[in-house]
């Protein structure tokens, strides 16, 4: 049990010792470990995205009472691999009127904030690539950059649908970032630390979803809006904008955007699992498995919402953020602050 729990930590330790034994200086060992972490994060990212692309189609099938992909491999479980192969071999078309360099770079930059964010996520006890003191603040800072590649994609395509889509995306992501941050602030107030490992450790007795149910709901809504998923998928909105930001992308570059969407969902559900659902805490199973199960649960909720709610109108979307979520999250921070103050000053009731 202990062995399974620490398996990845031990592997990292083993690689570190191997690098040191090969005669690298400590600085280069750290550099080597950074590369190892990066490869591990990218691997997790891609595997998770591949799995969830299929899981979404399966779950959507169950929700709509149809089989979903069921031809390729056992019960259709090889469908994503075939799709990935098809996308890899497709022609990569760049429109003539497009701003070529920006158009091509956007598809690469879309992954940068996601990978940067995953660097601080604790996948298990001691299983974060970096355990920054600023943890959550760093996470918020790097995810705020994710609007830029979308803007680049929309603008450089030189297409009205793309441009409108990217403007919607930017407006939506900037608006929903505010309640998202405030909802996390309540958790930080209770945990008393911004370290993600510290937040998880603070949840050893009670998960923060119990103490911060309002913040959890706000976070979940904002997470869906931040990842541009239905019912907040106006930037893509195929019924009005063809494919929105992604209209002019084809082949592998389009696939990169698609993959990034799932990776972003994974980041958001990891944050939710870390901040509200107790991260790696759980009985019997190893910590990292608990973490993956919790993210799986939240991801499945995202998919469930997508296939349940109809798309929201643009003005409703904005009003909902500024007139409902922002005041509500501010009130939540206020009440939490008072609660923490009373608790810390010796009037603790529980």
């Amino acid at each position: 049990m202990e062995f399974l729990n620490n398996i990845f930590v031990n592997i990292a330790q083993w690689i570190r010792e191997l690098l040191a034994a090969l005669g690298f200086s400590p600085v280069w060992v750290e550099m080597g470990m950074a590369v190892v972490y990066l490869v591990a994060i990218l691997g997790v990212c891609v595997l998770v995205a591949l799995f969830y692309v299929l899981w979404e189609r399966k779950l959507a099938g169950y929700i709509q009472r149809r089989p979903g992909p069921n031809r390729l491999g056992p019960n259709g479980w090889l469908q994503t691999i075939a799709d990935a192969m098809k996308l890899l071999t497709k022609e990569d078309v760049v429109p003539q009127g497009a701003d070529r360099i920006v158009h091509l770079l956007a598809a690469l930059f879309i992954f940068v904030p996601t990978v940067l964010a995953l660097a601080v996520i604790p996948f298990g006890e001691g299983m974060a690539a970096l355990d920054l003191n600023l943890g959550i603040f760093y996470l918020i800072a790097v995810t705020s950059l994710s609007t830029i590649p979308i803007f680049m994609a929309g603008w450089s395509s030189n297409n009205k649908y793309s441009l409108v889509g990217s403007m919607r995306a930017v407006a939506q992501m900037v608006s929903y970032e505010i309640p998202l941050v405030f909802s996390l602030l309540g958790v930080i107030l209770i945990a008393g630390t911004m370290k993600l490992q510290g937040v998880v450790e603070a949840q050893s007795s009670v998960w923060f979803i119990v103490l911060q149910p309002v913040a959890f709901v706000i976070f979940l809504i904002c997470a869906i809006a931040e990842t541009n998923r239905a019912p907040f998928d106006l930037p893509e909105g195929e019924s009005e904008l063809t494919a929105g930001v992604y209209t002019e992308y084809s082949g592998m570059r389009w696939a990169l955007f698609y993959l990034a969407e799932y990776c972003n969902m994974f980041v958001m559900s990891s944050v939710a699992a870390t901040m509200f659902l107790g991260g790696w805490h759980g009985p019997l199973l190893p910590g990292w498995l608990w973490f993956l199960l919790k993210t799986f649960l939240i991801m499945s909720c995202f998919i469930w919402f997508r296939w349940t709610f109809p798309r929201i109108r643009v003005d409703h979307l904005m009003n909902f953020s500024w007139k409902v979520l922002v005041p509500l999250s501010l009130a939540n921070v206020f009440v939490t602050g008072i609660g923490v103050y009373i608790y810390n000053n010796g009037l603790g009731w529980w």
Partner: protein, 169 residues
Amino acid sequence: MDLQVIAFWIIAFVTLGSALAVVYLTNIVHSALALIMTFLGIASLYLTLHADFLAAVQVLVYAGAVSILIVFGIMLITRGEGRMCETNTFGKYKYTAFVVIAALFGVISYFIIITPWQVTNGIVAEENMGTIGEVLFNNFVIPFELAAILLTVAMIGAIVIAREVKNLK
């Protein structure tokens, strides 16, 4: 050479290069994107100085929010009759720019020289978030709140101006 020195040179090169690109690129959207790069370069400079909090604020506020504001401004205003490659023509005012920059450089250098910098031998605490919070909300609470009021006033003003334009139409 020390790794930190190498890092400094790389970051300085990238930051100054992208700052030059902001001025010299003639497509204003490219300039805006290069500006984001400059902001990120400055954030990494803060990181090499162990100012983690400042670096994160720089990324969040400048690269994440201010740049988006600029980009929005650019998208909503048309210049150069639809020819995007002629939208940033400010790069040609070389002499005016030289005078302004020389004056700015002089003023900043003067203040850097006359300021009595306090040098502390104490080690900076690893976890300094709490300290920053205490300083902001105890010692400097009045400037902090004033800045908040100022921003609120500016925001309300912007909304009022935007509304009036709408009504005129």
